[in-house]
């Protein structure tokens, strides 16, 4: 049986939540098919709202629904969720302290053939500037379902970066998650690879294998939440290994690399740091594999960064 698509996990969880809670509604901007929420519309015709190709209005409508007691899950490609509707999400949802669950799909290079116009390298960093906003990025279908429920339970707006496609499972069905809690996928004593997102978490796991053959014992952490970062976990591995490589599918400026860098410097933690991700570049078309090589985000690139810190 093929692995479940992450968007299917998202939709199934929304249907489950909506069956129990009549206040759960879904909004889309003509991407219901892409986000995989057609099933929700079928199950709850009145509560599956297609707002058309008008993301700014969709986010505003979501804020209004929230003001009157609904729990709106609004989704679109991450580039539009952030760049297109940022002011609406900032003001109508967050500044107004409303409860809008925004999902940006096709994060980073997973946008592949849609190319630079559709490739959000900046959604996480932009969202990180909104005070108090949790930003989560599940890495497989199990964590996608779990985080959909966690953002539902969270009181206040949230942003979820959601890879749409199917990926190999990382977590057991019974794994428990929390917003702000990373997962140690493998322990290690020489360095820690802190990864974010479906693509880079898998590259980090592969990198650990490459490093093992070089005699380097690297821990792999799936951080899962960009904000609030799991400070305790990051600092404990900084203390334990003295070497951290962050790996993310977005701009390191403003993203995970920045978050970890700030944490280490603010706490005066002696730890070497290197960052894998996008370094001040736009996206472009290509297969995900080609893009990963182009932007130096492969397991090999991560392993090389770790080896660089070993010198």
């Amino acid at each position: 049986m093929p692995n479940k698509e992450m968007r299917a996990a998202y939709c199934d969880k929304l249907i489950e939540l909506a069956s129990k809670d009549p206040k759960v509604v879904v909004l889309e901007a003509d991407l219901m098919k892409a986000s995989g929420t057609m099933g929700f519309k079928k199950a709850f015709p009145d509560r599956g709202i297609d707002a058309g190709i008008a993301e700014a209005n969709m986010v505003g409508v979501a804020a209004g629904l929230s003001a009157n007691g609904y729990i709106p899950f609004a989704a679109t490609f991450g580039c539009f969720a952030s760049r297109r509707a940022y002011d609406q999400f900032f003001l109508s949802a967050n500044y107004a302290k409303l409860n809008v669950k925004l999902t940006g799909t096709d994060p980073g290079i997973s946008a592949a053939f849609n190319g630079g116009t559709h490739m959000p390298f900046e959604d996480g960093p932009l969202m990180r500037m909104i005070p108090g906003l949790p930003i989560v990025e599940p890495s497989d279908a199990v964590s996608a379902a779990a985080f959909t429920e966690l953002v539902y339970q969270h009181k206040g707006s949230t942003y979820m970066r959601l890879h749409r496609k199917s990926v190999d499972p990382i977590y057991d069905e019974n794994e428990k998650f929390e917003i702000g809690q990373g997962k140690v996928l493998s322990d290690g004593k020489d360095a820690a690879i802190i990864a974010l997102g479906a693509i880079e978490v898998r590259e980090a796991i592969k990198a650990r294998g490459i490093l093992a053959s070089e005699g380097v014992d690297a821990a792999v952490i799936d951080i899962l939440t960009l904000k609030p970062i799991d400070r305790k976990l990051v600092l404990s591995y900084a203390a334990k290994t003295g070497r951290i490589v962050t790996a993310e599918d977005e701009q390191v400026a403003g993203g995970l690399g920045s978050e970890v860098s700030m944490l280490l410097t603010e706490t005066g933690t002696a730890c070497r740091l290197a960052m894998v991700g996008i370094h001040d570049e736009f996206g472009q078309v290509g297969t995900t594999d080609w893009l990963m090589q182009h932007y130096k985000m492969t397991a090999k690139d991560i392993a090389e960064k770790v080896m660089g810190l070993m010198k």
Partner: protein, 278 residues
């Protein structure tokens, strides 16, 4: 039944108090969005004095009618209205824009009792009003959502996304007003970015429209009555208004948007020595 003479007199008196307090709270601070606040005073008096079903002692009452003041910079006029209505003490008006105030220049639902939505980045309010109206429809509630947008504000494209949405979802429980005072910061709306045949624009988006003076209670009453009859269309009521209405020095002046106001000017405009009407 049309408004009675007594009702009109009551609204006239309410509007005069709102106008007085709006002028004095801005004068007390020394500067503010006087023009666009004064142009909607009569509308606010009508809505809170006659039309809207609200409970000042229970601002979040679940069956209340709601107002989204999308032109959030007119906050002082709405604060004056809400305080006279009893949502909070009139004395709060003295705190306008002071650090830590519950009455910031632009409306903030998290700070002020009776404010239904935070606004200030122009163009966002109508979308939020659509969401509220849709929620009321899903809930099967008969309560209504009112929205006030500025004429210059209609230049923001998001309004037209909201216009499509309200029409598509048949939000007949949404009644919006355009404060058509024909002025914006840099000049007249015709000079900067004409609204053209504004009624025809809204009609072409599937809205029911009405047009009348924004300073005539009977006319506003008739327009809202016309809007309330709609069963499958949202309504836009275009109100012809005078920016700065009630302060001769500011009436129909481009410079009235955000202007210095002295206590002397306030006394001259209101004929009152002291501060606020209660």
């Amino acid at each position: 039944m049309p408004l009675s003479r007594t009702e009109i007199e009551g609204l006239t008196e309410f509007a005069a108090k709102i106008r007085t307090n709006t002028i004095f709270c801005i004068a007390n601070l020394g500067v503010g969005h006087i023009g666009g606040s004064l142009s909607i005073v009569d509308l606010l008096a009508y809505l809170y004095g006659h039309e809207m079903n609200v409970k000042p002692d229970d601002p979040l009452w679940g069956d209340r009618d709601q107002l989204v003041l999308s032109k959030g910079h007119a906050g002082p006029a709405l604060y004056s209205t809400l305080s006279l209505k009893g949502f909070f003490p009139v004395s709060w008006l003295d705190t306008l824009n002071q650090g830590g105030t519950r009455l910031p220049s632009h409306c903030d639902r998290t700070r002020t009792p009776g404010i239904d939505m935070s606004t200030g980045s122009l163009g966002q309010g109508l979308s939020v009003a659509c969401g509220m109206a849709l929620a009321n429809k899903l809930d099967g509630k008969t309560r209504r959502v009112f929205a006030i947008i500025g004429d210059g504000e209609t230049q923001e494209g998001q309004n037209w996304e909201a216009a499509e949405f309200a029409s598509q979802f048949k939000l007949s429980n949404l009644i919006a007003f355009t404060d058509y005072n024909k002025l914006q910061i840099d000049g007249t709306t015709d000079e900067i970015m004409s609204l053209g045949d504004i009624e025809a624009r809204w009609q072409s988006f599937g809205w029911h429209t009405e047009r009348c003076s924004g300073h005539d209670f009977e006319a506003i009453f008739e327009a809202v009555a016309g809007a309330s009859k709609q069963t499958d269309k949202p309504s836009m009521i275009i109100l012809d208004t005078i920016k700065g209405k009630g302060m001769k020095v500011f009436e129909n002046q481009v410079s009235s948007h955000n202007a210095p106001v002295t206590l002397e000017m306030a006394r001259e405009a209101t004929g009152r020595e002291g501060y606020y009407a209660e």
